[in-house]
């Protein structure tokens, strides 16, 4: 992982307050786990039926029955619990999930999220993402600021089918930390080595820029 992506993931990890119940989506979000200290109180949840995820295991040490929703072999910690898929999503929908971190194809300035379907190209099904995005108390997105073709992912409006409407609270990218509030993107922090103009130029929607120096990550 590039240095700036690692800093972005480390910065995202600081989003987690002690005692939270957190679901980390497949991809970049899962890397957040590497930045959580052994004595930090947090309960990681996975949709396939586990609270209290422990460190990922190499194949040699893996338990064939112990995976996360992304198929990675994980472990338990003291106090873990297994449950069925109905209980797992009951937890998500009833407000017990304090925070989820998700990937994104597109995020709109009103908080709309698209991350599951590209009509005609990619439609493998939504899995558990819909309910995570719609029902976690706080939804943050971890993504590159630009897609592989260099187009902005932060947009005035999503062009792809929505995962959930008006759900995203904050976006962590390899360029910036951006909040979603009152229908606008608000720049909060910038990656080391970039300036505001770089972020503005890479963002496909208006960006509210606060006065004064911005924190760096």
């Amino acid at each position: 992982m590039s240095d700036v992506r690692d800093r972005m993931v480390a910065r995202a990890a600081r989003e987690i307050a002690p005692g939270m119940v957190v679901n980390l989506g497949i991809g970049l979000p899962t890397r957040v786990i590497d930045h959580l200290a052994a004595d930090f109180p947090v309960c990681l949840h996975t949709e396939n039926g586990l609270s209290g995820i422990g460190p990922t295991l190499p194949f040699e040490q893996a338990d064939r029955n112990l995976i996360d929703a992304g198929g990675a072999y994980v472990s338990t910690i003291p106090g873990s619990a297994f449950f069925d898929s109905a209980v797992s999503f009951a937890l998500v929908r009833s407000g017990r999930l304090d925070l989820t971190m998700l990937g994104a194809f597109e995020v709109a300035q009103n908080g709309d999220l698209a991350n599951w379907k590209i009509p005609g190209k990619f439609s493998p099904g939504a899995g558990g993402g819909i309910e995570l995005a719609q029902k976690a108390r706080r939804v943050v997105v971890l993504t590159t600021h630009l897609d592989r073709k260099g187009n902005p992912k932060l947009l005035e409006q999503c062009s792809l089918p929505l995962t959930a409407a008006a759900c995203v609270n904050r976006v962590f990218t390899d360029m910036a930390v951006v909040d979603v509030a009152q229908g606008r993107f608000h720049l909060r922090e910038i990656a080391e080595g970039l300036n505001v103009a770089d972020v503005v130029g890479a963002t496909g929607a208006g960006l509210v820029i606060p006065e004064g120096d911005l924190p760096r990550f």
Binding site: G54, P78, G79, A81, F82
Partner: protein, 231 residues
Amino acid sequence: MKLADKSCAIEDAVSRIGAGATVMLGGFGVPGTPFALIRELVRQGPTGLTIIKNDANEKGMGVDHLLAAGMVEKLIVTHIGLNARAMAMMNAGEIEVEFCAQGMLAERVRAGGAGLMGFVTDIGVGTELATGKPRLDMGGRAGVLETALRADVALVHAARADTFGNLCYAAAARNFSPLMAMAADRVIAEVEEMVKPGGIPPEEVHTPGPFVDHVVPLGTLGEEYGVVRRA
């Protein structure tokens, strides 16, 4: 990563329950009724409560103390035949009572705990139990719409818990407790035996810790928890 410690003194846990609160109580008869939490609730005395429970216990036990103290405005229950005070207060109009079929109460609480808005069932269709409920036919079958129930606080009794709030219930004391422990904004468990995280095998947990807010260790169990000797 480690898991948070939610152990809590009974006074502090119960102090979160204000006047007018909706409170779910686990238990079916004696097994599972959180007698100690109810006694503390009576001591603190918030009024105007809506109580959701299978039954109203018996004279001098559990819910009966809340009724005697005049703290209850409404009961949502399946059966109150063993509590003469509850029957009398209902007949005198001193409390409101909403009766549910037992499995419907379980499902309404579960729906609340599962973040659903309601469900469609044919239970009660063709009887007075369906009166006043929105009719909703599906696939040619007659049904009614039942609404989800949630509460401000759920009080449950567990046989064993770890400090993170993973709960195990004994025998038939499980009944409504795992459902209620999903369906309240704040969940308080009184616990006979407290263990450290890891003390309960993860496959044997009945209520996962993320649903639980406060874990209150019990000392010696009071008489109410014992075997009831009836004639």
